[in-house]
Symmetry: C2
Subunit: 118 residues, 2 copies
């Protein structure tokens, strides 16, 4: 019934709603990194960082690969395409809405003028 759902988008925006995770994405934009390196940089336990990476991985923003004892994290193939599209679509809606409001305001002004003439 509720077809307003889109789990992919939910997961993506939820992943982006945490400062640490946004920081991790920016970090990985500069260079791949191990869990340990990220944990140190963001002053957090390994376990804590692992969870954040898990969230980013689940959202498709990050992929990881374990070689030996080191798990290397890198940016995934998902490049915020969908999110950008959603936001853009919303912005268009917003613009349209406020253009409409302006028209109404304009209309009211005209009516007022007409009333003034009475």
């Amino acid at each position: 019934m509720v077809q307003y759902n889109n789990d992919t988008l939910d997961a993506a925006f939820a992943a982006l709603s945490d400062g640490t995770r946004r920081g991790v994405l920016e970090q990985l934009g500069r260079a791949d990194a191990s869990i340990t390196a990220l944990a140190r940089k963001f002053q957090m336990t390994l376990t804590g960082m692992k969870k954040h990476v898990g969230v980013l991985e689940h959202a498709g923003f990050v992929t990881t690969q374990k070689i030996g004892r080191v798990r290397t994290c890198k940016l995934g193939l998902r490049r915020l395409e969908e999110e950008a599209v959603w936001i853009e679509r919303y912005r268009l809606l917003w613009d349209a809405r406020f253009d409409a409001l302006e028209m109404i305001v304009e209309e009211l002004k005209q009516k007022e003028k007409a009333n003034d003439r009475d």
Copy 2:
């Protein structure tokens, strides 16, 4: 120490991470609406919808005004500017990162060729 935080962005992305709230934004993009109207449209109690509207309001996406017994919700002044900027910046990072990767791949290919010639 953790300067990766940005509560505004946190609140914005968190607000967008729920399908019902994204639906409400789209709805308000078409026309202002009361809590009751939104609750009916999204098949939810008044109290539940009030909470969603509260989240959107807190994030700055929606403003409300109570006249008589009706609280009318409309799009706020915040038009996802910051979010669009963040996402765009990330996308540039992403592109740069993958361009760099491509260069490395290219480099490896060259080395391989050189080895083949040995």
